[in-house]
Protein backbone atom coordinates (compact mmCIF):
# COMPACT_ATOMS: atom_id res chain seq x y z
CA UNK A 1 0.00 0.00 0.00
CA UNK A 2 1.53 3.36 -0.99
CA UNK A 3 2.50 5.52 1.98
CA UNK A 4 3.22 9.19 2.38
CA UNK A 5 5.16 11.07 5.02
CA UNK A 6 3.93 13.70 7.43
CA UNK A 7 5.56 15.65 10.21
CA UNK A 8 4.04 18.14 12.59
CA UNK A 9 6.05 20.78 14.43
CA UNK A 10 9.10 18.54 14.78
CA UNK A 11 11.71 19.92 17.09
CA UNK A 12 15.03 18.37 18.01
CA UNK A 13 17.54 19.77 20.47
CA UNK A 14 20.83 17.96 21.00
CA UNK A 15 22.70 18.37 24.26
CA UNK A 16 25.89 17.27 22.59
CA UNK A 17 27.13 17.25 19.01
CA UNK A 18 24.62 15.37 16.82
CA UNK A 19 25.73 11.74 16.59
CA UNK A 20 26.51 9.96 13.35
CA UNK A 21 22.98 8.59 13.12
CA UNK A 22 21.79 12.13 12.52
CA UNK A 23 24.50 12.92 10.01
CA UNK A 24 26.70 15.94 10.45
CA UNK A 25 23.82 18.37 10.57
CA UNK A 26 22.54 20.64 13.23
CA UNK A 27 25.57 22.57 14.37
CA UNK A 28 24.33 26.03 13.85
CA UNK A 29 22.73 27.44 16.94
CA UNK A 30 24.24 27.26 20.37
CA UNK A 31 22.43 28.38 23.49
CA UNK A 32 23.97 28.00 26.91
CA UNK A 33 21.98 25.97 29.43
CA UNK A 34 23.10 26.48 32.99
CA UNK A 35 23.74 23.40 35.12
CA UNK A 36 24.24 23.55 38.87
CA UNK A 37 27.86 24.61 39.29
CA UNK A 38 28.80 22.82 36.10
CA UNK A 39 30.05 24.12 32.80
CA UNK A 40 27.07 25.21 30.72
CA UNK A 41 26.12 22.45 28.31
CA UNK A 42 25.92 23.55 24.70
CA UNK A 43 22.52 22.96 23.14
CA UNK A 44 22.20 22.48 19.44
CA UNK A 45 18.78 23.20 17.97
CA UNK A 46 18.75 20.98 14.90
CA UNK A 47 15.03 21.19 14.10
CA UNK A 48 12.86 24.09 15.04
CA UNK A 49 9.25 23.27 14.18
CA UNK A 50 9.49 21.28 10.98
CA UNK A 51 6.09 20.50 9.46
CA UNK A 52 5.87 18.90 6.07
CA UNK A 53 3.75 16.54 4.03
CA UNK A 54 5.10 14.27 1.33
CA UNK A 55 2.39 12.70 -0.81
CA UNK A 56 2.54 9.01 -1.47
CA UNK A 57 4.19 8.20 -4.77
CA UNK A 58 6.10 11.46 -4.92
CA UNK A 59 9.83 12.21 -5.14
CA UNK A 60 10.33 14.89 -2.55
CA UNK A 61 13.56 16.64 -1.80
CA UNK A 62 14.87 18.46 1.25
CA UNK A 63 17.36 21.00 -0.03
CA UNK A 64 19.59 22.97 2.28
CA UNK A 65 23.14 23.62 3.37
CA UNK A 66 25.07 21.44 5.84
CA UNK A 67 23.59 21.77 9.30
CA UNK A 68 20.15 22.82 8.07
CA UNK A 69 18.43 19.86 9.78
CA UNK A 70 17.90 17.58 6.78
CA UNK A 71 19.62 14.54 8.24
CA UNK A 72 17.94 15.00 11.61
CA UNK A 73 14.56 15.03 9.84
CA UNK A 74 15.45 11.80 8.07
CA UNK A 75 16.78 10.40 11.37
CA UNK A 76 13.44 11.05 13.11
CA UNK A 77 11.40 9.69 10.20
CA UNK A 78 13.46 6.50 10.20
CA UNK A 79 13.24 5.88 13.99
CA UNK A 80 16.92 6.60 14.58
CA UNK A 81 16.48 9.97 16.28
CA UNK A 82 14.04 10.70 19.10
CA UNK A 83 12.26 14.02 18.53
CA UNK A 84 12.32 16.50 21.41
CA UNK A 85 8.74 17.40 20.51
CA UNK A 86 6.33 17.10 17.60
CA UNK A 87 5.12 14.07 15.69
CA UNK A 88 5.92 12.19 12.51
CA UNK A 89 3.97 9.62 10.50
CA UNK A 90 4.80 7.21 7.73
CA UNK A 91 1.48 6.30 6.12
CA UNK A 92 -0.89 6.00 9.08
CA UNK A 93 1.80 4.95 11.55
CA UNK A 94 3.21 7.21 14.21
CA UNK A 95 6.98 6.86 13.73
CA UNK A 96 7.90 6.92 17.41
CA UNK A 97 5.03 4.82 18.75
CA UNK A 98 4.79 2.20 16.00
CA UNK A 99 8.43 1.72 15.14
CA UNK A 100 8.25 -1.86 13.93
CA UNK A 101 5.37 -1.15 11.54
CA UNK A 102 7.22 1.91 10.26
CA UNK A 103 10.45 -0.02 9.76
CA UNK A 104 8.61 -2.49 7.54
CA UNK A 105 7.57 0.37 5.24
CA UNK A 106 10.87 2.17 4.87
CA UNK A 107 14.25 1.69 3.24
CA UNK A 108 17.07 3.95 4.35
CA UNK A 109 20.30 5.07 2.73
CA UNK A 110 22.37 6.91 5.33
CA UNK A 111 24.60 9.82 4.51
CA UNK A 112 27.66 7.70 5.21
CA UNK A 113 27.87 4.09 4.02
CA UNK A 114 27.15 1.86 7.03
CA UNK A 115 27.66 -1.53 5.44
CA UNK A 116 28.39 -4.66 7.44
CA UNK A 117 32.15 -5.01 6.93
CA UNK A 118 32.17 -8.64 8.03
CA UNK A 119 30.06 -9.72 5.04
CA UNK A 120 30.35 -9.85 1.27
CA UNK A 121 28.21 -7.63 -0.96
CA UNK A 122 25.83 -10.48 -1.76
CA UNK A 123 25.58 -11.56 1.88
CA UNK A 124 24.73 -7.99 2.90
CA UNK A 125 21.72 -8.04 0.58
CA UNK A 126 20.73 -11.59 1.48
CA UNK A 127 20.85 -11.03 5.24
CA UNK A 128 19.02 -7.73 4.88
CA UNK A 129 16.29 -9.61 3.00
CA UNK A 130 16.24 -12.21 5.76
CA UNK A 131 15.75 -9.53 8.45
CA UNK A 132 12.62 -8.53 6.51
CA UNK A 133 11.39 -12.11 6.21
CA UNK A 134 11.96 -12.63 2.46
CA UNK A 135 12.02 -16.27 1.40
CA UNK A 136 15.33 -17.84 0.47
CA UNK A 137 14.39 -17.83 -3.21
CA UNK A 138 13.30 -14.18 -3.15
CA UNK A 139 16.52 -13.22 -1.36
CA UNK A 140 18.69 -14.88 -3.88
CA UNK A 141 16.88 -13.61 -7.00
CA UNK A 142 16.44 -10.04 -5.72
CA UNK A 143 20.02 -9.77 -4.57
CA UNK A 144 21.29 -11.01 -7.94
CA UNK A 145 19.16 -8.55 -9.88
CA UNK A 146 20.08 -5.61 -7.62
CA UNK A 147 23.79 -6.43 -7.85
CA UNK A 148 23.40 -6.50 -11.62
CA UNK A 149 21.40 -3.25 -11.69
CA UNK A 150 24.00 -1.46 -9.57
CA UNK A 151 26.90 -2.95 -11.55
CA UNK A 152 28.33 -4.85 -8.63
CA UNK A 153 28.01 -8.43 -9.89
CA UNK A 154 31.73 -8.91 -10.47
CA UNK A 155 32.52 -7.97 -6.85
CA UNK A 156 29.44 -9.63 -5.34
CA UNK A 157 31.28 -12.28 -3.39
CA UNK A 158 34.04 -10.10 -1.97
CA UNK A 159 34.06 -8.52 1.47
CA UNK A 160 32.98 -4.90 1.20
CA UNK A 161 35.95 -3.70 3.26
CA UNK A 162 37.96 -3.21 0.08
CA UNK A 163 35.22 -1.41 -1.89
CA UNK A 164 35.60 2.16 -3.12
CA UNK A 165 33.35 4.88 -1.69
CA UNK A 166 31.18 4.87 -4.81
CA UNK A 167 30.72 1.10 -4.72
CA UNK A 168 29.76 1.22 -1.06
CA UNK A 169 27.23 3.93 -1.80
CA UNK A 170 25.71 1.89 -4.64
CA UNK A 171 25.50 -1.18 -2.41
CA UNK A 172 23.88 0.87 0.38
CA UNK A 173 21.16 1.94 -2.05
CA UNK A 174 20.71 -1.60 -3.35
CA UNK A 175 20.36 -2.81 0.25
CA UNK A 176 17.71 -0.20 1.02
CA UNK A 177 15.71 -1.41 -2.00
CA UNK A 178 16.16 -5.10 -1.19
CA UNK A 179 12.89 -5.50 0.73
CA UNK A 180 11.00 -3.31 -1.76
CA UNK A 181 10.00 -0.61 0.77
CA UNK A 182 7.07 1.71 0.15
CA UNK A 183 9.07 4.74 1.24
CA UNK A 184 12.71 5.20 0.38
CA UNK A 185 14.89 7.68 2.27
CA UNK A 186 18.14 8.76 0.67
CA UNK A 187 20.34 11.09 2.69
CA UNK A 188 22.64 12.86 0.24
CA UNK A 189 22.75 9.82 -2.02
CA UNK A 190 24.98 11.20 -4.72
CA UNK A 191 27.74 12.68 -2.58
CA UNK A 192 30.98 11.03 -3.54
CA UNK A 193 29.60 9.56 -6.76
CA UNK A 194 31.13 10.27 -10.15
CA UNK A 195 28.84 11.99 -12.70
CA UNK A 196 28.15 8.77 -14.60
CA UNK A 197 27.12 6.85 -11.48
CA UNK A 198 25.04 9.82 -10.36
CA UNK A 199 23.06 9.62 -13.60
CA UNK A 200 22.59 5.87 -13.08
CA UNK A 201 21.37 6.55 -9.57
CA UNK A 202 18.89 9.18 -10.76
CA UNK A 203 17.57 6.78 -13.34
CA UNK A 204 17.14 4.06 -10.70
CA UNK A 205 15.37 6.46 -8.31
CA UNK A 206 12.97 7.57 -11.07
CA UNK A 207 12.25 3.95 -11.98
CA UNK A 208 11.63 3.06 -8.35
CA UNK A 209 9.26 6.00 -8.03
CA UNK A 210 7.40 4.99 -11.19
CA UNK A 211 6.43 1.76 -9.48
CA UNK A 212 4.38 3.89 -7.06
CA UNK A 213 6.92 4.30 -4.27
CA UNK A 214 7.52 7.45 -2.25
CA UNK A 215 11.07 8.81 -2.24
CA UNK A 216 12.42 11.42 0.13
CA UNK A 217 15.94 12.58 -0.56
CA UNK A 218 18.12 15.23 0.93
CA UNK A 219 20.73 17.12 -0.97
CA UNK A 220 22.61 20.36 -1.11
CA UNK A 221 23.00 19.92 -4.81
CA UNK A 222 20.45 22.08 -6.62
CA UNK A 223 20.98 20.34 -9.90
CA UNK A 224 19.95 17.07 -8.29
CA UNK A 225 16.87 18.57 -6.67
CA UNK A 226 15.91 20.27 -9.90
CA UNK A 227 16.40 17.16 -12.04
CA UNK A 228 14.81 14.61 -9.78
CA UNK A 229 12.15 16.05 -7.50
CA UNK A 230 8.50 16.64 -8.13
CA UNK A 231 8.34 18.91 -5.08
CA UNK A 232 10.94 20.19 -2.72
CA UNK A 233 11.35 22.04 0.52
CA UNK A 234 14.18 24.43 1.15
CA UNK A 235 15.39 23.98 4.70
CA UNK A 236 17.50 26.30 6.79
CA UNK A 237 18.06 26.56 10.55
CA UNK A 238 15.77 23.58 11.15
CA UNK A 239 12.79 25.10 9.38
CA UNK A 240 11.20 25.00 5.97
CA UNK A 241 11.64 28.36 4.31
CA UNK A 242 10.09 27.55 0.93
CA UNK A 243 8.06 24.69 -0.49
CA UNK A 244 6.80 23.84 -3.97
CA UNK A 245 7.74 22.38 -7.32
CA UNK A 246 11.21 23.35 -8.58
CA UNK A 247 9.52 25.49 -11.25
CA UNK A 248 7.21 27.26 -8.79
CA UNK A 249 10.05 27.97 -6.43
CA UNK A 250 12.36 29.27 -9.12
CA UNK A 251 9.69 31.56 -10.45
CA UNK A 252 9.07 32.91 -6.93
CA UNK A 253 12.44 34.66 -7.04
CA UNK A 254 11.80 38.27 -8.06
CA UNK A 255 12.65 38.46 -11.73
CA UNK A 256 14.38 35.11 -11.70
CA UNK A 257 17.87 36.38 -12.56
CA UNK A 258 20.39 37.33 -9.91
CA UNK A 259 23.30 39.67 -10.56
CA UNK A 260 25.87 39.61 -7.76
CA UNK A 261 27.92 42.81 -8.03
CA UNK A 262 30.87 44.14 -6.08
CA UNK A 263 31.92 47.77 -6.11
CA UNK A 264 34.96 49.72 -4.92
CA UNK A 265 32.75 51.34 -2.27
CA UNK A 266 29.17 51.21 -1.02
CA UNK A 267 26.90 53.92 -2.42
CA UNK A 268 23.28 54.46 -1.37
CA UNK A 269 22.72 56.74 -4.32
CA UNK A 270 23.89 54.05 -6.73
CA UNK A 271 21.62 51.50 -5.04
CA UNK A 272 18.61 53.75 -5.45
CA UNK A 273 19.41 54.40 -9.10
CA UNK A 274 19.76 50.72 -9.82
CA UNK A 275 16.38 50.03 -8.27
CA UNK A 276 14.92 52.39 -10.84
CA UNK A 277 16.36 50.45 -13.80
CA UNK A 278 13.83 48.72 -16.06
CA UNK A 279 13.48 45.03 -15.21
CA UNK A 280 15.10 45.31 -11.77
CA UNK A 281 12.81 43.92 -9.05
CA UNK A 282 14.89 44.18 -5.95
CA UNK A 283 18.36 45.41 -4.92
CA UNK A 284 20.03 44.43 -1.66
CA UNK A 285 23.30 45.71 -0.26
CA UNK A 286 25.52 42.85 0.89
CA UNK A 287 28.87 42.47 2.64
CA UNK A 288 32.15 43.81 1.21
CA UNK A 289 30.55 46.60 -0.87
CA UNK A 290 28.40 44.07 -2.69
CA UNK A 291 24.91 44.34 -4.15
CA UNK A 292 22.50 41.57 -5.12
CA UNK A 293 20.25 42.64 -7.96
CA UNK A 294 17.16 40.51 -8.71
CA UNK A 295 15.95 41.22 -12.22
CA UNK A 296 14.06 39.71 -15.13
CA UNK A 297 17.19 39.64 -17.31
CA UNK A 298 20.90 39.20 -16.78
CA UNK A 299 23.57 40.22 -19.29
CA UNK A 300 21.62 43.04 -20.98
CA UNK A 301 21.58 44.94 -17.67
CA UNK A 302 25.34 45.03 -17.25
CA UNK A 303 25.91 47.95 -19.65
CA UNK A 304 23.37 50.11 -17.81
CA UNK A 305 24.80 49.15 -14.40
CA UNK A 306 28.34 49.99 -15.59
CA UNK A 307 27.13 53.38 -16.81
CA UNK A 308 25.42 54.12 -13.49
CA UNK A 309 28.58 53.16 -11.60
CA UNK A 310 30.66 55.39 -13.85
CA UNK A 311 28.28 58.29 -13.34
CA UNK A 312 28.43 57.81 -9.55
CA UNK A 313 32.27 57.53 -9.66
CA UNK A 314 32.12 54.07 -8.11
CA UNK A 315 34.35 51.35 -9.49
CA UNK A 316 32.56 48.15 -10.60
CA UNK A 317 34.95 45.38 -9.48
CA UNK A 318 33.09 42.12 -10.01
CA UNK A 319 29.96 40.81 -11.74
CA UNK A 320 28.37 37.39 -11.49
CA UNK A 321 25.16 36.53 -13.30
CA UNK A 322 22.97 33.59 -12.23
CA UNK A 323 20.12 32.38 -14.36
CA UNK A 324 16.85 31.40 -12.58
CA UNK A 325 17.85 28.63 -10.16
CA UNK A 326 17.18 27.19 -6.73
CA UNK A 327 20.47 28.66 -5.60
CA UNK A 328 19.03 32.13 -6.28
CA UNK A 329 15.95 31.19 -4.31
CA UNK A 330 18.02 30.08 -1.36
CA UNK A 331 20.05 33.26 -1.51
CA UNK A 332 16.92 35.35 -1.74
CA UNK A 333 15.45 33.74 1.39
CA UNK A 334 18.55 33.48 3.53
CA UNK A 335 21.09 35.97 2.17
CA UNK A 336 23.53 33.05 2.06
CA UNK A 337 24.69 30.72 -0.65
CA UNK A 338 23.86 27.02 -0.36
CA UNK A 339 27.56 26.29 -0.50
CA UNK A 340 28.51 28.57 2.37
Amino acid sequence: MPAGIRTSELRKVYNTAPPLAAGSGGAFSFAAKRGKGKQPKPEVVALNGMSLEVRSGEIFCLLGPNGAGKSTTVGILTTRVRPTSGQAWIGDHDVWKEQTAVKRLIGVVAQRPNLDFSLTAREILIFHGAYFGLSSQERSSRSASLLERFKLTDRADQLVRGFSGGMMQRLSIARAMMHDPQVLFLDEPSSGLDPQTRLLLWEIIREYNQSGKTVLLTTHNMEEADALCQRLAIVDHGKIIALGTPQELKSSVPGGYLLRLRFGQQSTELLQRMQALAGVREVRATENNGMDVYADRGGPLIGEIANLALAASVELCDVHISEPSLENLFLHHTGRSLRE
Binding site: Y14, P18, P19, L20, A21, A22, G75, T78, T79, R80, V81, R82, Q99, T100, A101, K103, R104, I106, V108, A110, R112, P113, N114, L115, D116, F117, S118, L119, E123, I124, F127, H128, A130, Y131, F132, G133, R175
Partner: protein, 256 residues
Protein backbone atom coordinates in the same frame (compact mmCIF):
# COMPACT_ATOMS: atom_id res chain seq x y z
CA UNK B 1 9.62 -10.06 18.76
CA UNK B 2 10.12 -10.98 15.12
CA UNK B 3 11.49 -14.52 15.16
CA UNK B 4 12.53 -14.51 11.50
CA UNK B 5 14.61 -11.37 11.89
CA UNK B 6 16.05 -12.61 15.18
CA UNK B 7 17.11 -15.95 13.66
CA UNK B 8 18.51 -14.18 10.60
CA UNK B 9 20.72 -12.10 12.88
CA UNK B 10 21.90 -15.23 14.68
CA UNK B 11 22.66 -16.75 11.27
CA UNK B 12 24.59 -13.61 10.37
CA UNK B 13 26.69 -13.90 13.55
CA UNK B 14 27.28 -17.60 12.88
CA UNK B 15 28.45 -16.78 9.34
CA UNK B 16 30.88 -14.16 10.66
CA UNK B 17 32.14 -16.53 13.39
CA UNK B 18 32.68 -19.29 10.84
CA UNK B 19 34.61 -16.88 8.64
CA UNK B 20 36.88 -15.92 11.54
CA UNK B 21 37.09 -19.36 13.10
CA UNK B 22 40.91 -19.57 13.27
CA UNK B 23 41.26 -16.21 14.98
CA UNK B 24 38.42 -17.07 17.37
CA UNK B 25 40.01 -20.40 18.31
CA UNK B 26 43.35 -18.78 19.08
CA UNK B 27 41.70 -15.98 20.97
CA UNK B 28 39.58 -18.36 23.00
CA UNK B 29 41.94 -21.17 23.80
CA UNK B 30 45.52 -19.96 23.58
CA UNK B 31 45.70 -18.12 26.88
CA UNK B 32 43.75 -20.67 28.98
CA UNK B 33 45.78 -23.53 27.54
CA UNK B 34 49.04 -21.73 28.33
CA UNK B 35 47.83 -21.40 31.91
CA UNK B 36 47.02 -25.10 31.92
CA UNK B 37 50.49 -25.95 30.67
CA UNK B 38 52.37 -23.69 33.08
CA UNK B 39 50.25 -24.08 36.23
CA UNK B 40 48.95 -27.58 35.63
CA UNK B 41 51.93 -29.30 34.09
CA UNK B 42 55.09 -27.30 34.82
CA UNK B 43 54.30 -26.16 38.37
CA UNK B 44 52.77 -29.48 39.39
CA UNK B 45 55.35 -31.56 37.52
CA UNK B 46 58.22 -29.67 39.14
CA UNK B 47 56.74 -30.14 42.58
CA UNK B 48 55.92 -26.48 43.34
CA UNK B 49 52.21 -27.32 43.43
CA UNK B 50 50.51 -30.43 44.87
CA UNK B 51 49.26 -33.01 42.39
CA UNK B 52 45.59 -32.35 43.12
CA UNK B 53 46.04 -28.71 42.02
CA UNK B 54 45.31 -29.93 38.48
CA UNK B 55 41.75 -30.78 39.42
CA UNK B 56 41.32 -27.53 41.33
CA UNK B 57 42.60 -25.50 38.38
CA UNK B 58 40.40 -26.95 35.64
CA UNK B 59 37.02 -25.42 36.65
CA UNK B 60 38.72 -22.06 37.10
CA UNK B 61 40.22 -22.29 33.62
CA UNK B 62 36.82 -23.23 32.25
CA UNK B 63 35.24 -20.18 33.92
CA UNK B 64 38.02 -17.94 32.65
CA UNK B 65 37.69 -19.29 29.12
CA UNK B 66 33.90 -18.91 29.06
CA UNK B 67 33.87 -15.42 30.51
CA UNK B 68 36.68 -14.26 28.21
CA UNK B 69 34.91 -15.69 25.16
CA UNK B 70 31.49 -14.24 25.96
CA UNK B 71 32.78 -10.78 26.78
CA UNK B 72 34.96 -10.72 23.69
CA UNK B 73 32.25 -12.11 21.40
CA UNK B 74 29.70 -9.48 22.44
CA UNK B 75 31.69 -6.42 23.50
CA UNK B 76 34.23 -6.18 20.71
CA UNK B 77 31.82 -6.30 17.74
CA UNK B 78 29.46 -3.88 19.50
CA UNK B 79 32.22 -1.38 20.21
CA UNK B 80 33.27 -1.54 16.56
CA UNK B 81 29.77 -1.52 15.08
CA UNK B 82 28.65 1.53 17.03
CA UNK B 83 31.67 3.55 15.97
CA UNK B 84 32.26 5.63 12.88
CA UNK B 85 31.09 3.00 10.40
CA UNK B 86 27.78 2.37 12.24
CA UNK B 87 27.71 -1.17 10.86
CA UNK B 88 24.90 -2.11 13.24
CA UNK B 89 22.51 0.40 11.66
CA UNK B 90 21.06 -2.11 9.19
CA UNK B 91 20.09 -4.44 12.03
CA UNK B 92 18.62 -1.57 14.05
CA UNK B 93 16.37 -0.86 11.07
CA UNK B 94 15.10 -4.46 10.92
CA UNK B 95 11.37 -4.70 11.70
CA UNK B 96 11.61 -5.54 15.40
CA UNK B 97 12.19 -3.66 18.64
CA UNK B 98 15.85 -2.70 18.86
CA UNK B 99 16.22 -4.38 22.26
CA UNK B 100 15.98 -7.70 20.41
CA UNK B 101 19.11 -6.80 18.44
CA UNK B 102 20.93 -6.57 21.78
CA UNK B 103 19.32 -9.78 23.05
CA UNK B 104 20.41 -11.56 19.87
CA UNK B 105 23.99 -10.51 20.66
CA UNK B 106 23.57 -11.92 24.17
CA UNK B 107 22.22 -15.22 22.82
CA UNK B 108 25.08 -15.48 20.30
CA UNK B 109 27.65 -14.66 23.01
CA UNK B 110 26.12 -17.17 25.43
CA UNK B 111 26.26 -19.92 22.80
CA UNK B 112 29.89 -19.12 21.98
CA UNK B 113 30.84 -19.10 25.65
CA UNK B 114 29.10 -22.45 26.22
CA UNK B 115 30.90 -24.03 23.26
CA UNK B 116 34.23 -22.62 24.47
CA UNK B 117 33.62 -23.88 28.02
CA UNK B 118 32.63 -27.35 26.88
CA UNK B 119 35.60 -27.57 24.52
CA UNK B 120 38.14 -26.48 27.12
CA UNK B 121 37.27 -29.39 29.46
CA UNK B 122 38.48 -32.20 27.17
CA UNK B 123 41.39 -30.08 25.90
CA UNK B 124 42.61 -29.32 29.42
CA UNK B 125 41.91 -32.88 30.56
CA UNK B 126 44.09 -34.19 27.71
CA UNK B 127 46.90 -31.80 28.62
CA UNK B 128 46.74 -32.46 32.35
CA UNK B 129 46.11 -36.20 32.56
CA UNK B 130 46.84 -38.29 34.47
CA UNK B 131 45.64 -37.06 37.82
CA UNK B 132 42.59 -34.94 36.94
CA UNK B 133 39.80 -36.01 39.20
CA UNK B 134 36.58 -34.66 37.66
CA UNK B 135 33.17 -35.94 38.77
CA UNK B 136 29.96 -35.14 37.01
CA UNK B 137 27.33 -36.78 39.16
CA UNK B 138 25.14 -33.67 39.20
CA UNK B 139 24.93 -32.97 35.47
CA UNK B 140 21.78 -30.81 35.65
CA UNK B 141 23.35 -28.53 38.24
CA UNK B 142 26.54 -28.39 36.19
CA UNK B 143 24.56 -27.47 33.05
CA UNK B 144 22.65 -24.79 34.97
CA UNK B 145 25.84 -23.25 36.36
CA UNK B 146 27.55 -23.41 32.95
CA UNK B 147 24.54 -21.70 31.35
CA UNK B 148 24.48 -18.94 33.97
CA UNK B 149 28.23 -18.39 33.58
CA UNK B 150 27.90 -18.18 29.79
CA UNK B 151 24.96 -15.80 30.13
CA UNK B 152 26.92 -13.68 32.60
CA UNK B 153 29.79 -13.37 30.12
CA UNK B 154 27.45 -12.28 27.32
CA UNK B 155 25.49 -9.82 29.49
CA UNK B 156 28.79 -8.42 30.77
CA UNK B 157 29.95 -8.08 27.18
CA UNK B 158 26.76 -6.19 26.32
CA UNK B 159 27.11 -3.80 29.26
CA UNK B 160 30.80 -3.20 28.58
CA UNK B 161 30.48 -3.03 24.80
CA UNK B 162 27.76 -0.38 25.01
CA UNK B 163 29.54 1.68 27.66
CA UNK B 164 33.04 1.86 26.26
CA UNK B 165 34.44 3.80 23.32
CA UNK B 166 36.88 2.24 20.89
CA UNK B 167 39.75 4.33 22.26
CA UNK B 168 39.21 2.84 25.73
CA UNK B 169 39.40 -0.85 24.85
CA UNK B 170 42.88 -1.16 26.39
CA UNK B 171 41.60 0.47 29.54
CA UNK B 172 38.66 -1.95 29.66
CA UNK B 173 41.06 -4.87 29.76
CA UNK B 174 43.44 -3.39 32.32
CA UNK B 175 40.79 -1.86 34.58
CA UNK B 176 37.93 -4.34 34.33
CA UNK B 177 38.88 -7.67 32.78
CA UNK B 178 42.35 -8.21 34.31
CA UNK B 179 41.33 -7.47 37.95
CA UNK B 180 38.21 -9.57 37.45
CA UNK B 181 40.36 -12.54 36.39
CA UNK B 182 43.00 -12.20 39.11
CA UNK B 183 40.47 -11.67 41.90
CA UNK B 184 38.02 -14.13 40.38
CA UNK B 185 39.14 -17.29 42.24
CA UNK B 186 40.10 -18.86 38.93
CA UNK B 187 43.51 -20.18 40.03
CA UNK B 188 42.63 -20.69 43.68
CA UNK B 189 39.46 -21.49 45.61
CA UNK B 190 37.64 -18.77 47.50
CA UNK B 191 38.48 -20.55 50.76
CA UNK B 192 42.19 -19.95 50.02
CA UNK B 193 41.51 -16.32 50.93
CA UNK B 194 40.65 -17.26 54.55
CA UNK B 195 43.88 -15.65 55.67
CA UNK B 196 43.01 -12.42 53.86
CA UNK B 197 39.57 -11.66 55.33
CA UNK B 198 39.19 -8.21 53.82
CA UNK B 199 40.10 -9.41 50.35
CA UNK B 200 37.91 -12.46 50.83
CA UNK B 201 34.88 -10.23 51.41
CA UNK B 202 35.85 -7.68 48.78
CA UNK B 203 36.12 -10.25 45.97
CA UNK B 204 32.47 -11.19 46.50
CA UNK B 205 31.53 -8.22 44.30
CA UNK B 206 33.29 -10.01 41.46
CA UNK B 207 30.87 -12.24 39.50
CA UNK B 208 33.73 -14.41 38.22
CA UNK B 209 34.16 -15.68 41.82
CA UNK B 210 30.70 -17.28 41.63
CA UNK B 211 31.41 -18.61 38.15
CA UNK B 212 34.64 -20.33 39.22
CA UNK B 213 33.23 -21.56 42.52
CA UNK B 214 30.02 -22.78 40.89
CA UNK B 215 31.92 -24.82 38.33
CA UNK B 216 34.21 -26.07 41.09
CA UNK B 217 31.19 -27.14 43.15
CA UNK B 218 29.72 -29.13 40.27
CA UNK B 219 32.93 -30.55 38.72
CA UNK B 220 35.30 -31.05 41.68
CA UNK B 221 33.04 -31.01 44.77
CA UNK B 222 35.84 -32.64 46.81
CA UNK B 223 37.46 -29.18 47.15
CA UNK B 224 36.03 -26.48 49.42
CA UNK B 225 33.68 -24.18 47.51
CA UNK B 226 30.95 -21.60 47.97
CA UNK B 227 27.46 -23.00 48.44
CA UNK B 228 25.58 -23.59 45.20
CA UNK B 229 22.68 -21.53 46.50
CA UNK B 230 24.96 -18.50 46.88
CA UNK B 231 26.33 -19.17 43.40
CA UNK B 232 22.87 -19.32 41.81
CA UNK B 233 21.54 -16.28 43.63
CA UNK B 234 24.62 -14.21 42.81
CA UNK B 235 24.83 -15.25 39.15
CA UNK B 236 21.13 -14.68 38.53
CA UNK B 237 21.41 -11.28 40.25
CA UNK B 238 24.49 -10.21 38.30
CA UNK B 239 22.98 -11.43 35.03
CA UNK B 240 19.78 -9.46 35.61
CA UNK B 241 21.71 -6.34 36.56
CA UNK B 242 24.13 -6.54 33.64
CA UNK B 243 21.34 -7.27 31.17
CA UNK B 244 19.35 -4.30 32.46
CA UNK B 245 22.35 -1.96 32.28
CA UNK B 246 23.41 -3.39 28.92
CA UNK B 247 19.95 -2.94 27.34
CA UNK B 248 19.70 0.61 28.66
CA UNK B 249 23.12 1.50 27.32
CA UNK B 250 22.26 -0.18 24.01
CA UNK B 251 19.11 1.95 23.70
CA UNK B 252 21.11 5.08 24.47
CA UNK B 253 23.71 4.22 21.84
CA UNK B 254 21.15 3.26 19.24
CA UNK B 255 18.80 6.22 19.34
CA UNK B 256 20.05 9.79 19.54
Amino acid sequence: MNLKAFLAMLARDARVARRNIVAILFQTFLQPLMFVIIFGRVMVGSGYMPANYKSLLLPGIMALCMVGTGIWAVAMPLIGEFQFTREIEDRLLAPMDISWVAIEKVVAGTLQALVAGLMVIPAAWLLLRPGVDLTLHRPVLFAAVAFLVALFSACGGLALGCSIEQTHIGLMFSLVVAPMIFFGCTYYPWSALDKFPIMQKAVLVNPLVYASEGLRATLVPQFPHLSLLAVFVALVGFNALLLFVGLRQFQKKSVS
